[in-house]
């Protein structure tokens, strides 16, 4: 009997197959934006960028009854039509517009970094969702390097718990690192790369978390089916098993009256009498328009957020909006993301299973026996052929027949990713390519100066990467790889508009409210003072949920008063999308 009975879908509430082909059908019935605010209608919160952070903010604020709109430079995805199981065909998921990159260790941007379109980077993330450790929030106090956060782990912990259920996160029941915790969904089965990590670590006596934590469904929930292990996560999960704010939060936001204005690029934030009164933007047809708003939240990613604030310089804010501290665009961070590749005699076929499915945080914390502060994680990755070919051309320095030969062995290779903490440094920056002050000049199609990103490794970073790389290679060898090579790279940009205890040290306070403009907020990865060696996505979403609680507690004060109330809000459990928190899902206490 065929596995695919035309009339009986395998699982879940899928549509019927059509055309005699085997379809699971359009899985996400996402209704297009329905509410449309007029430009001259004063909305309460205008969110710039509907990505990891923006999607969560939009959903929370809409549920709380605010008039809220998310302006998104990219499209509202029609997942069935726009997304494909194909590397090249997924090019449009990324922010492909020009940026200039430089410094001693220039970062690759584009598909190495940020998304464009509703869901932002959560559309193409691998969905690893480890929490930060308590130590991450006081790196300066503990190690005398980097910075302290203006909040502690305890303040964000309830939001980790919330988001882990809203996404939800699959992983082991007992996660031993940082503050030990469990996960609401069961761990995933292993793929070949996970087996490599487990084998290597077990031989060396290193603990491994198998099957998560990842924001990928290990069992179906509602209209979202479980993972089918197709391995195309960073090409966007057409199945709907992997969480993105497009499927986890935006539908609920729309349901509660939010607007998502897609293909709308915000070009400048407008300030009048010391307060924001709206934004200038280019609509889908390229017309410049102005939308009035009582408050603005910038959630555009660690590059576009500083860029927008710098491009919004005006009288009284000559060095960029909310930049009286001079820290805007500074302390940009990326994690070391070296890929360590090992060849095995036995085939691996690493394209199966989600790239993210096992990791170790055994080396996360500062170890006084090492000659550097902070640490790293080792995670599974699963490069598909094009990505792998490029990695091998670098890692083995090959081309011609040598590269063809190596590629014929694709199925024999396994790949592990280092995720190393790089500290925040003042000279790692986002600036404008505006041709001034010795900077290059480059503009986008709207005539706006693009971002110029500068990245330099410092001593601690170099030592950490060297150690982490060697340790990962050791794990690969212990797993039985007969040949081990590696490619240096960087991942996950955060920082650039950091939160701080004091106005002179950062751009915004612990809720993302800028120190200079009382109704202007920043909330996305750019607010992070340090980054740990955990992938940032879960923390970004948890911070966004917390800021939403704060804004709800503040009520209309944000829209009128200039005072700053730094009282922490209660963590609201009533705002989760339906069927998530406390709704039929095992509840961790």
């Amino acid at each position: 009997m065929s596995l695919f009975d035309r009339n009986k879908p395998l699982f879940g509430s899928f549509g019927k197959p059509k055309d005699g082909l085997h379809h699971l059908g359009p899985l996400q019935q996402i209704k297009p934006p329905q509410r449309v605010f007029r430009d001259d209608e004063e909305i309460d919160y205008l969110i710039v960028g509907v990505g990891s952070a923006g999607g969560v903010l939009l959903q929370r604020l809409a549920r709380a009854g605010f008039k809220v709109a998310g302006f998104e430079a990219g499209p509202f995805w029609d997942t069935e039509r726009d997304w494909v199981s194909d590397e090249t065909g997924s090019h449009n998921l990324y922010w492909n517009d020009l940026r200039i990159t430089g410094g001693t260790d220039p970062l690759a941007l584009g598909n190495n970094n940020s998304g464009k379109g509703v869901g932002g980077g959560s559309v193409h993330w691998a969905a690893f969702t480890p929490r930060f450790h308590p130590s991450d929030f006081e790196v300066y106090t503990q190690d005398g390097v980097g910075a302290d956060w203006p909040i502690t782990y305890e303040e964000i912990e309830p939001y980790y718990q919330l988001l882990e259920q809203e996404l939800p996160v699959a992983g082991p029941a007992w996660y031993p690192w940082g503050k030990p915790h469990g996960h609401p969904y069961g761990p995933h089965p292993m793929g070949g790369v996970g087996d490599t990590l487990i084998d290597g670590c077990t031989k060396l006596g290193i603990g491994v978390s198998a099957g998560g934590p990842v924001a990928i469904l290990s069992a179906s929930r509602g209209d979202r089916p479980h993972c089918i292990y197709r391995g195309f996560c960073i090409q966007a999960c057409k199945v709907g098993a992997k969480a993105s704010t497009l499927v986890t939060h935006v539908p609920d936001a729309l349901e509660h009256g939010a607007e998502v204005r897609d293909n709308s690029m915000v070009s400048r934030i407008s300030v009048k009498d010391g307060r924001v009164d709206g934004v200038h933007y280019f609509d889908r047809d390229g017309n410049e328009r102005f939308q009035r708003a009582k408050a603005v939240i910038v959630s555009g990613y660690a590059i576009e957020t500083p860029r927008l604030l710098l491009n919004s310089a005006c009288a009284g804010h000559e060095n960029g909006l909310a930049n009286s501290s001079g820290t805007l665009g500074k302390y940009l961070m990326a994690q070391a993301g070296n890929v360590i590749l090992g060849r095995f005699d036995q085939p691996v076929r690493m394209y199966k299973a989600p790239p993210a499915h096992a990791l170790t945080e055994e080396f996360y914390e500062t170890d006084p026996k090492r000659d550097f502060a902070r640490g790293f994680a080792v995670q599974t990755v699963g490069p598909l052929p094009i990505a792998f070919a490029k990695q091998m051309s670098v890692a083995k320095n090959q081309w011609g027949w040598g590269l063809r030969r190596t590629m014929m062995d694709y199925n024999h290779w396994s790949a592990l990713g280092l995720l190393g903490e790089i500290l925040p440094w003042k000279d790692n920056t986002v600036e404008l390519a505006d041709g001034k002050g010795g900077r290059p000049e480059a503009r986008d199609r709207y005539g706006l100066p693009v971002a110029k990103v500068t990245f330099n490794l410092h001593d601690n970073d170099t030592k950490l990467i060297e150690f982490g790389k060697n340790k990962t290679m050791e794990i690969m060898r212990a797993a039985g790889a007969t040949e081990v090579v590696q490619e240096a790279r960087y991942a996950h940009l955060v920082g650039g508009a950091r939160m701080s205890k004091r106005p002179e040290d950062g751009v915004c306070d612990k809720f993302g409210r800028t120190w200079d403009v009382p109704n202007l907020f920043v909330m996305d990865g750019s607010v992070m003072p340090t980054q740990g060696s955990a992938n940032p996505g879960l923390t970004i979403q948890a911070l966004a949920a917390r800021t939403a609680d704060y804004l709800i507690s503040q009520g209309s004060a944000v829209f009128t008063a200039n005072g700053r109330d730094l009282t922490s809000p209660p963590c609201r459990h009533s705002l989760s999308p339906p069927g998530t928190f406390t709704k039929g899902i095992p509840h961790l206490r």
């Binding site: 695919f4 492909n96 190495n112 036995q346 085939p347 299973a353 590629m407 490619e487 790279r489």
Partner: protein, 257 residues
């Protein structure tokens, strides 16, 4: 550890007499494997994208005919295909030309590099200059080994070229760009997937055999043989052995985790 599933059989890939490659419809160790044969199990959007890639005619619009001749010869050395039958070669120049013509970039430009368009324009000229200087003939007219020698000098960042042929270009970065464009074209093709045993598009069916390199029922087991590159090449040895020195590659550029 599961039992070794690999079967070994020997297939000569180069003619034992003259070392010329024996041309196959499908090189690689997965005889009989065809991703395209599975297309009924792909979703519409993916099928459309992949089939279009195979059939769409791309007139060369960015490169001039002379530049196109040079670049086609360069790309043929970066990812050579003499082991493929003529009908089964994967076009490398058209996708690159199309990308440059439409100015589709990867979202950034290095501070010490011109735009992709300018870099390729200058490179096409520089390759030709290198050929003329070293051999007094056009790049595309050179013997394979001559072309490889020139490319190798570029790879080693010491191009045998007139002084300012590569001026304004960071050669390490251009090399990475060039190889990366070739990889993007070649390994996007179903024939390349068949060659390396990659399962290809997998929605909505998904994969079920995740561990120990097990093939799905519709995939095939590897059939290894002693693969050898044609005799007239310098590129089938590790790069460090080619040049006798270690070339420091630049950091990788793709996203992973």
């Amino acid at each position: 550890m599961a039992p070794q599933k690999v079967q070994t059989k020997r297939l000569p890939v180069t003619d034992p007499l003259d070392g010329a490659p024996i041309q196959l419809d499908q090189p690689g160790y997965y005889e009989g494997f065809s991703t395209l044969s599975q297309q009924a199990y792909w979703d519409d959007a993916t099928r459309k994208v992949v089939l279009q890639r195979m059939t769409a005619a791309h007139p060369i619009l960015f490169f001039t005919p002379a530049e196109a001749a040079t670049m086609a010869a360069v790309l043929d050395r970066i990812l050579p295909q003499e082991d493929r039958t003529a009908a089964r070669r994967i076009a490398l120049l058209p996708p690159l030309d199309d990308r440059l013509f439409h100015n589709r970039i990867e979202g950034y430009r290095y501070e010490d590099m011109p735009s992709d368009q300018d870099a390729y324009r200058q490179a096409a000229k520089a390759f030709e200059q290198m050929a003329q200087t070293a051999c007094g003939r056009s790049f595309h007219e050179l013997e394979t080994m001559e072309q490889e020698t020139l490319l190798q000098s570029l790879h080693a960042e010491k191009p045998t070229a007139p002084e300012d042929a590569w001026k304004g270009i960071n050669i390490k970065r251009f090399w990475a760009l060039l190889v990366s464009d070739c990889c993007s074209a070649y390994y996007a093709h179903p024939w390349a997937w068949d060659e390396i045993g990659f399962g290809g598009p997998a929605y909505p069916r998904g994969y079920m055999r995740l561990e120990e390199g097990q093939p799905e029922p519709w995939e095939v087991d590897e059939q290894r043989y002693q693969w050898a590159a044609p005799a007239d090449t310098l590129t089938d040895t590790p790069a460090s052995e080619q040049t006798g020195e270690k070339v420091q590659s630049q950091a990788g550029q793709g996203g992973t985790h």
